[in-house]
Amino acid sequence: MAAESALSTTAAGGGDRNAERTFAIGFAIMLGFFVLSPLAIYPIFLMKVMCFALFACAYNLLLGYVGLVSFGHAAFLGAAGYVAAHSAKVWGFPPELAILAGTASSAVLGAVFGWLAIRRQGIYFAMITLALAQMLYFFCLQAKFTGGEDGIQAVPRGHLFGLIDLAQTMNLYWVVLAIFAFGFLVIYRTIHSPFGQVLKAIRENEPRAVSLGYQVERYKLLAFVLSAALSGLAGSTKAILFQLATLTDVYWAMSGEVILMTLLGGLGTVFGPVVGAFIIIGAQNYLAKYGSWVTIIQGFIFVVCVLAFRRGVVGELGRYLRRSL
């Protein structure tokens, strides 16, 4: 008996170690890719991919690990972009403070949205988030400081900590990579913490989690705020990168795009959203010359994905390798 339990703990411990090793290898490959690829690929495109990858990872935290379908995540991406752009341009914030301000504002926004939305489940939750996001869209369209259709343009990239000139593309590249890696690790840590275990328990069976004495609403709200803040981090970084904050990022289509990235890459996998973002942004970038066909191609990819490999790219790969990626 004792031997048996000892065996099972070692097995479990071994499994954990295995999973950790898989993650470490995966993370190293991903980091290696992003470190080496600017030699061959246009760095601004890669930075855009990283911003959206972080956005999709943040979304995946909510959809993949808590099972909450938010249809208003564009609000967090876009609002943070506006705040970061405005604070950098008008108030003269240095980039690190502008990004922090954007992230903080999205966290606050996430707390408000989340507080209202988590009272409902399923489709109602999705609809409430969509409605709130559309309200924010309308605000951004009408408010003076957002510049309406023009957006906030010519945002200065500035000097990080007053030292590093971000107008140099490669300087900015390493900063964006660091921000992306930081956000990614925060998400990984969250998922694999006791807090993350509870989130997964809620996803699997909410009544049981309640019966075990967990205050599920608090857990959900905290996950929602975390996801919103990380989306905001992605949005503010994007605003500094493109020196621009526009309505595209608060529009509902953006909320749809992030769902697409997450599903395509692999729902509930750590690396999936990164791959999904790469595919979608890559398609938009390299197929741009086909104009409105891009959305049709995206739709086609989505249909193929749902029909042929429902777990997404990384999900299927993980199943093939028998590893949780």
Binding site: I44, E149, D150, Y320
Partner: protein, 405 residues
């Protein structure tokens, strides 16, 4: 499943390869012109594919090949989104090694491209965008604003209307950089001439339903309903105004920016009597008519607008400057040369480019013909008056352009 995975990976690898390929092909031996315009939405008729064609004709007529200059033209759709426009411009300059971006209707997008071009020290030749801010507070040593601007439109049409008794106005304004600038510039002209503005309402870009805005215009009792919008928005507003009986009720419409293609779309029955300011009309000189004939033959019979003519003229002058400087590498130097050389081409005749980047030429006040006066399709305008170059554009001192000095 494995096969599918394989094809996915291959796809990702291909994307990576495509990127490297693009970088390897770049050659600075060629002058690369990027036509960034609206290819699918409300400004596509007045600019769009026609602008690409106009650029191509300009390159042909310049005889670039005979002079040993290699010129390539690429184009893209900015979807009327500032972020798409600025991302495209950035990657064109960085990856595709584009040397000059031309046209770019939609002032919001143009202002974004203006900034990217300044940062990258390339050249931006504006024909499609209207905002007078491009040679005002946002002026740049890398930008030339060619065909027209909101100040010129307001000055031409606004003046003419106020002087013929249209002294109370209501504005229907497209809610972005262009509409705001046009409304601001026209309002200044109206109040300067003793008229007054009774109200204004902003509508979203690419709007389909103007009913609530038109009702407000109707109840304002203003004599003139000024349409500070363009392209599809203007034609929609004019058509719906006819349905609401605004003109029958005694109010007049003032299309502040109406293009030949808009009049064609509206039909003379609806458009007759509209007064507008334009920089160029195909049926004015033999050279213009010859150009229009060539243009229409290659463009499904659609005749060129002033924007198309502006693209032709601007590209011609740009190529001349590059030929003189013997390099396209330094955008500022090329633009300086463009400013130093008087402009002269078959469509716009002789003209100059001011220090603030404003191209100066005569503007014309046209009136749309009555159906009986028109001899056939595309015969739409009659000339009311010519606004001489010296009075057609905002004096440089009033623009607050930092480089005008």
């Amino acid at each position: 499943m494995k096969k599918l995975m394989g094809s996915w990976l291959a796809g990702v690898a291909l994307a990576a390869l495509a990127a490297t390929g693009a970088q390897a092909q770049m050659s600075d031996g060629a002058i690369k012109i990027g036509v960034l315009t609206d290819m699918s939405s409300l400004y596509t008729d007045l600019s769009g594919a026609g602008s690409v064609l106009a650029a191509r004709l300009a390159v042909e007529d310049f005889g670039a090949a005979a002079k040993g200059m290699k010129v390539e033209i690429i184009s893209a759709d900015h979807q009327n989104k500032a972020d798409v426009g600025s991302t495209t411009a950035r990657s064109w300059y960085d990856v595709e090694k584009v040397d000059v971006i031309v046209d770019t209707p939609n002032s919001g997008v143009a202002l974004a491209v203006n900034e990217v071009t300044r940062e990258k020290n390339k050249v931006f030749l504006v024909s499609g965008a209207a905002s007078s801010d491009l040679t005002g507070p946002k002026c740049s040593p890398n930008t030339v604003h060619w065909t027209y601007d909101t100040w010129a439109l307001a000055n031409g049409t606004g003046n003419a209307i106020v002087k013929t008794g249209g002294d109370s106005w209501f504005f229907l304004t497209a809610d972005y950089a262009f509409g705001h600038a046009l409304e601001r510039d026209t309002e200044a002209v109206v109040t300067k001439n003793g008229g007054k503005v009774l109200g204004k309402v902003r509508h979203p870009l690419n709007n389909a339903d103007f009913s609530s805005f038109l009702l407000q215009a109707q109840s304002s009792k203003a004599k003139i309903v000024g349409l500070a919008n363009a392209g599809g928005d203007t034609t929609n507003a004019i058509k719906q105004a006819a349905e609401f009986g605004i003109v029958k009720g005694g109010q007049s419409l003032a299309g502040l920016l109406v293009f030949l293609t808009d009049v064609h779309g509206l039909g003379l029955q609806t458009a007759q009597g509209l007064i507008m300011t334009e920089a160029w009309y195909w049926d004015m000189t033999d050279a213009n008519r010859a150009f229009a004939k060539r243009f229409a033959a290659a463009n499904k019979g659609i005749h060129p607008t002033m924007i198309h003519a502006g693209v032709y003229s601007a590209v011609t002058h740009y190529l001349k400057a590059v030929e003189a400087v013997k390099s396209d590498a330094d955008g500022k130097a090329v633009v300086e040369k463009m400013k130093a050389t008087p402009t002269d081409d078959s469509l716009f005749g002789k003209g100059t480019i001011r220090k603030d980047g404003r191209k100066v030429h005569d503007m014309y006040l046209f009136e749309v013909k009555k159906p009986a006066e028109s001899k056939g399709p595309w015969d739409y305008y009659k000339l009311r008056s010519t606004i001489p170059a010296a009075q057609a554009f905002r004096p440089m001192a009033e623009g607050n352009c930092p480089i005008a000095g």
